[in-house]
């Protein structure tokens, strides 16, 4: 049952009780099985703007009199900031403001999470990673701002640093935060360490399970740190006026959350800051955190001028959202008949210098695909001198899936069982206890595996040096706070205001759902993303929630609007409300004596609105819980050059449950995009740190995301197992597609190369080393 706040219903004088034949205004149960609009592939409303260069992204907005803001960043991985002298910079002609941490006093009131955000936005006493912001300037132009940065003198006391996950957990490792005592351990440890938290999940008795096994697979896997790699760098324009009100234009996945954090950090009232989300040039989780936005606001406040800040690519890599680097021990016990008797894993995830929940997410998702009697996972959050880890598409799940799905594949091979059949035998199903705790409802892993088993890809012949791999993936998905408005114009066309940022075509999907519910054509519905001043709070577009949550809110808003439309039709006909039904975009009169009344179209009712009570609208404010967990199975073929270790992906297939694909082209796009990012992660993407703790490759030249010629076509198969908690059966689709690729490719490369790959990315030096002798090549 979807929960709704009681006061979120339409105007009570107009809200009619639902008739038995129609769903209530907020009845979540599946109300549709045959769709007219949903499931079609219309053109997206923002398409023309985006192919003509008209669409405005973060860096495309300007305000009169705006200044250019730039950030001075730490060149050290770990250093105490002894003093910052800004006097010369401030005196330079054209410089209008210089700020340091002193200009952003601590308003966080003991909120540790918020304090970490503040400390990450601008270092206070310690610079904790290469690229950590230390000061910022605003000047009349970029050249002046650059010159000013050079005039700021920072005296550092360089501290010992650690960037490697396994080094950081050693007893003698340099401490990132001397006040960090591992949480989740009772009694609390007496000494500080770099382990911020220990989390455990599981059930049963793994030791007994391992004793019952015929075969034990035990290995340690490693993954390197990656970046979301959105093509649009972070950008914003901030303007604070002397009366304390402010405007922020910014590329973000969640302008309401940005408003909340920025206001809290700057000590502003939330209502005094209006945040407008620009078109967003990719986020993938990296734009769910604030970075330099508070600095832009603080500079604007100090200079009393608008300030524009745009990160360089170098800054994006050094100082915004990478993933964790991980080191994961897996142990799997298997019987010869194919039963997994026990699974355990210890997962060490780097967090950057701040407390996070990345290992915890890895520990929760690791074995989620399987029905295990005995399972235990331990997650260790590891602090290191690297940038603060940010969410990246199903955060932490791909690394864990790489480790577990590699072990599962190896186990199947060891007992001589087909890897798909082995997974089907052990797959979680309705009623299975998940490895993270709760018992599953209806879930889709079985169907994706069955579809994989029957897919022609599984039977296609392989050439020399080629190998095939497959893997499964899991992600939770979630919903969250959502607020939408639906306004009917005088001509009967409809405007939707939503607060979930459109990252990949959701405006089209949302318009489709409203067209479906109202029974009007898609092109009569226009969807816009509203700013924080014109709509209630919306959580961010993350957790695969954009289309899931906003479509649910809009369907409810449409039902509320239908109730109003019916009341207006009743007025126009001068008949009782209970004699009006809504069907196919029209009000129909029913009952004795009314049957001959011609149906009234939405357009006709809208036209008479001025005389029937005024504007017609529908609203909904909901907490969209019930997103429903998501599973996928991927199959891939690779060819490995035995002389160079280079891997080419030759074929790739994604099979995933969408619940109901609202706009199938954009569902396919999510599947393909996630797979491509996973392929990059698996093969070539990694942060390379030098011995000095500085990032060596903060460019698209040396941080190698897949280019067009690296990839094959990516085939997709959309399964539709309706989500019972959404009126149209929709599930989130955005994230799960990045979970299986690391493992699927590792399994394929292992099969092609004849050696088990345990370190991602499987860059050519690593593969060649594994294929020959690790010592000889020194990898």
């Amino acid at each position: 049952m979807v929960t709704l706040k009681d006061n979120s219903l339409a105007n009570p004088t107009e809200a009619a009780p639902p008739t038995t034949s129609e769903p209530g205004p907020h009845e979540p149960l599946l109300s549709k099985h045959h769709f007219k609009s949903v499931g079609t592939r219309p053109l997206r409303p923002d398409g023309i703007d985006k192919v003509t260069g008209r669409a405005k992204y973060g860096a495309d907005h300007n305000l009169p009199g705006q200044l250019v803001g730039l950030v001075l960043r730490s060149p050290h991985a770990h250093a105490r900031i002894k003093a910052i002298d800004t006097t010369r910079a401030a005196r330079l002609a054209g410089v209008k403001a210089v700020i340091t941490a002193a200009d952003l006093p601590d308003h966080t009131g003991g909120d540790e999470g918020l304090f970490d955000i503040l400390d990450n936005c601008i270092a206070r006493d310690v610079a904790r990673y290469d690229g950590h912001a230390v000061a910022a300037v605003a000047a009349v132009d970029a050249a002046t701002a650059r010159a000013a940065l050079k005039l700021i003198k920072v005296s550092y006391e360089v501290l010992p640093h650690v960037t490697d996950v396994d080094e950081a957990v050693k007893a003698n490792a340099p401490l990132i935060n001397p006040k960090n005592f591992t949480r989740g351990v009772e009694p609390a440890p007496a000494r500080p360490s770099n382990i911020a938290k220990r989390s455990t999940f599981g059930h049963g008795n793994v030791e007994a399970g391992f004793k019952a096994a015929d075969v034990i697979i035990a290995r340690t896997y490693r993954t390197e740190q990656t970046h979301q790699g959105y093509i649009e760098p972070h950008a914003c324009v901030a303007s604070i006026s002397p009366d304390g009100t402010g405007e922020l234009w910014v590329c973000t996945q969640g302008h309401f959350a940005y408003r909340q954090w920025c206001a809290a950090i700057l000590g502003m009232d939330v209502a005094k800051l209006r945040v407008t989300s620009s078109e967003i040039g990719g986020g993938f989780g990296g734009k769910t955190h604030i970075w330099m936005e508070p600095l832009a606001l603080a500079l604007s406040r100090k200079a009393n001028r608008p300030v524009k800040m745009v990160m360089s690519r170098d800054e994006v890599f050094r100082a915004s959202g990478p993933t964790s680097a991980t080191s994961i021990d897996v142990k799997l016990g298997v019987k010869k008949d194919g039963t997994i008797t026990a699974g355990s894993a210890t997962l060490r995830y780097t967090n950057g210098p701040y407390f996070g929940m990345w290992a915890e997410l890895g520990a929760m998702t690791a074995f989620a695909c399987y029905d295990l009697e005995n399972v235990e996972t331990i997650g260790l959050e590891v602090l290191v001198n690297r940038p603060k880890v940010a969410a990246y598409r199903a955060p932490s799940a791909p690394e864990a899936a790489f480790a577990i799905e590699s072990a599962v594949d190896e186990a199947a091979k060891t007992i001589g069982m087909d890897p798909v059949a082995f997974r089907i035998r052990n797959a979680a199903r309705e009623g299975s206890r998940s490895s993270y705790g709760p018992v599953y409802g209806p879930i889709g892993i079985g169907p994706t595996l069955k579809a994989a088993q029957n897919h022609p890809h599984m039977k296609a012949p392989l050439g020399p040096n080629q190998g095939r791999g497959m893997a499964c993936g899991f992600w939770f998905n979630f919903g969250g706070q959502t607020c939408s408005d639906l306004n009917i114009g005088v001509d009967g066309t409809v405007t939707l205001s939503v607060g979930t940022v459109d990252v990949g075509g959701s405006r089209a999907s949302l318009a489709l759902c409203v067209a479906e519910e109202l029974g009007i054509p898609y092109d009569h519905v226009r969807c816009v993303v509203a700013d924080t001043g014109t709509l209630g709070h919306n959580d961010m577009t993350d957790g695969s929630r954009g289309t899931f949550s906003s479509s649910m809110a809009l369907i409810f808003a449409a039902r509320n609007a239908i109730n109003v439309l019916k009341a207006r039709a009743a007025q126009m006909w001068e008949i009782p409300l209970e004699n009006v039904v809504w069907k196919d975009g029209h009000a129909h009169a029913t009952g004795d004596g009314h049957g001959n009344l011609a149906p009234l179209s939405l357009k006709e009712i809208a036209a008479s609105a001025p005389n029937t009570g005024g504007p017609i609208a529908g609203h909904a404010e909901i907490t969209a819980d019930g997103a429903g967990v998501s599973f996928a199975t991927h199959i891939c073929d690779v060819e490995v050059d035995p002389e160079t270790g280079r891997t080419r992906v030759t074929r790739y297939t994604v099979i995933q449950d969408a619940g109901k694909a609202v706009h199938p082209a954009y569902v396919e796009g999510q599947y393909q995009g996630g797979a491509a990012q996973g392929i990059g992660w698996a093969l070539n993407e990694e942060y390379v740190y030098g011995r000095d703790g500085r990032l060596q490759n903060p460019t698209f030249l040396d941080y190698r995301i897949p280019v067009c010629s690296d990839l094959p076509m990516i085939d997709t198969q959309i399964l539709e197992i309706p989500n019972p908690n959404h009126p149209y059966g929709v599930r989130g689709v955005g994230e799960t597609s990045i979970v299986p690729p690391l493992a699927a490719i590792a399994n394929a490369v292992s099969n092609a190369a004849g050696v088990r790959m345990t370190h991602i990315p499987m860059s050519p030096p690593r593969v060649l080393a594994a294929m020959t002798s690790a010592d000889k090549l020194g990898v």
């Binding site: 929960t3 979630f478 919903g479």
Partner: protein, 84 residues
């Protein structure tokens, strides 16, 4: 004892409940549950502040604290997950 609910804890919470994996709390809603947990197990407060999700019969609630806790069925506390 009609309000007594069996509450399953994930690993990180267990140390604050003496190592128990299941505890009994008298609570009819998520809000009441969190209040009672803070009263009975103060060590859990930072976790609750940072966010705890509640799985009720496999369905995960992150925000809706007025959600009723059914007398029968499984109630499982989980970290409040983040997404990308």
């Amino acid at each position: 004892m009609e309000a007594a609910r069996h509450i399953h804890l994930w690993g990180a919470l267990r140390p604050y409940a003496g190592g128990a994996s299941v505890i009994v709390v008298e609570a009819r809603t998520i809000r009441e549950l969190f209040r009672k947990l803070e009263e009975q197990f103060p060590g859990m407060t930072p976790h609750i502040r940072r966010g705890i999700a509640v799985s009720i019969n496999g369905r995960i609630y992150r925000d809706q604290w007025d959600t009723a806790l059914p007398e029968k069925g499984e109630i499982y506390l989980l970290p409040r997950i983040q997404g990308g």
